[in-house]
Structures are given as structure tokens and as C-alpha cells.
Symmetry: C2
């Protein structure tokens, strides 16, 4: 279960908005970048074959649903990324992420809370 970048784009749309047709997903993606309808269609068909999406074919325009959980998927990707980009050092990654991506005070507080839990 290692979705490619394009597959992730689509998963994000479905995770955020729930089940959708190819048309809906394509319209959504189209807001951010140039992408042909059949390109989106093909991706979603492939993702269906791979088991990344399920689909309801009762209507002529099929409705697709994410078949993989967002948190789990992100965790898998993160594991791989920590390995390839940070040689397994998660704490280095965390510090880089904290250092250069501004988080809101709320988020920082939440992270601190988690940190407390881990430390105790």
C-alpha cells in the first residue's frame, strides 16, 4: 500500500469530501492544476484495481470511496520517508519540521501535550 503522488492527490480529495465520482474528483483537482478527465478516470480505475478505492457501479457514473484509512496510509508513508530521507532518524525530521513550518500556538500546545505523555 504505497500510493504514488498522483494517487495521494485523489485520496486526499476523497478523505476530505467523502465518496465522489470521477467528475467530482477531477473538478476538484482541476482547481489546482491542469489535468484531463480521462487521466483522473484512469488513476481511479487503477486505484480501484489495486484496492485503494472501492466503487459503486449501480449508477452510470460510478461513485468511488477511499478504501484505505488516512492515518494508516500517512503512517506508512512517513515510515518510508523517515527511512529514505532521514536515515531512520525521526527526531531529526521532527525538529526540521518544527523549525521551518510555522505551526500555530494551538498546534504547538498539542504537540507539547503529546510530548508530556511520551516522557512520563
Amino acid at each position: 500500500m504505497k500510493p504514488t503522488d498522483s494517487e495521494l492527490e485523489i485520496l486526499h480529495v476523497l478523505w476530505a469530501n467523502g465518496p465522489a465520482t470521477v467528475r467530482q474528483v477531477n473538478d476538484n483537482l482541476g482547481q489546482f492544476r491542469e489535468i484531463g478527465y480521462t487521466t483522473t478516470l484512469k488513476f481511479m480505475q487503477l486505484m480501484h484495481e489495486k484496492g485503494l478505492l472501492t466503487r459503486d457501479e449501480t449508477a452510470r457514473s460510478h461513485t468511488y470511496t477511499a478504501a484505505v484509512n488516512q492515518a494508516d496510509t500517512q503512517q506508512t508513508l512517513l515510515d518510508r520517508f523517515v527511512e529514505t530521507a532521514f536515515k531512520g532518524s525521526a527526531s531529526t525530521l521532527v525538529m526540521q519540521a518544527l523549525g521551518n513550518h510555522k505551526a500555530t500556538p494551538d498546534e504547538l500546545a498539542e504537540i507539547r501535550e503529546l510530548l508530556d505523555k511520551l516522557t512520563k
Copy 2:
């Protein structure tokens, strides 16, 4: 400046050990996985062309050096990754990373320190 996974493998060797020949890098990689000498050679030649590595050709066996900084490169990769996998939410990534990759108490303390600095 977007090294591929294979290129990253090589950069990690050079970052960790300093300048090296193809033979040295290949021996290093060979410890972890099956990889032909000319495969490593080709990668390093391509990376040289791309400007990822510099090389000293005075000796017959060329010595290659990483031409890109480790922290900068990781930051770039991280930015891209936060975008594609976490839709820009660095704090979600940080929490997932903290949650599932055990960090040592020392590392957690270091992270807390950084957090303090960011919060003040």
C-alpha cells in the same frame, strides 16, 4: 534539487563518510542490498551531471563529493513530503512521527527545548 530514492542512498553515504570513489560507495551500499558496480557508477555519473555531486578526476578512479548540503536537501524533501502526504499540515506529521517512532528521552528533551523556543 529533488534527488530520487537511489540518489539519496548515495548522498547519505557521502554525507556520512565524506568524499569517496564509486568503489567505496558501492561497497557501502552492497552491505545493505544487491547492487551492481556499474549501477552505482551510472547513478553517480548522472548525479554529477545534475550537479548533485562534484568530482575530482585527477586520479584514475574519480573521487566524488556531495555538492548539496544535507540539512538543506532534507528540508526540501520534507517540504515536498508535508505537501503531498499531509496536505501541508506539518503538525499532524510531527505528531504521527512522535507517536510511532520511538525517540530516546534525550531526543524528546531536545524536541521540548525547541518547542519552548518556538512558544516563547
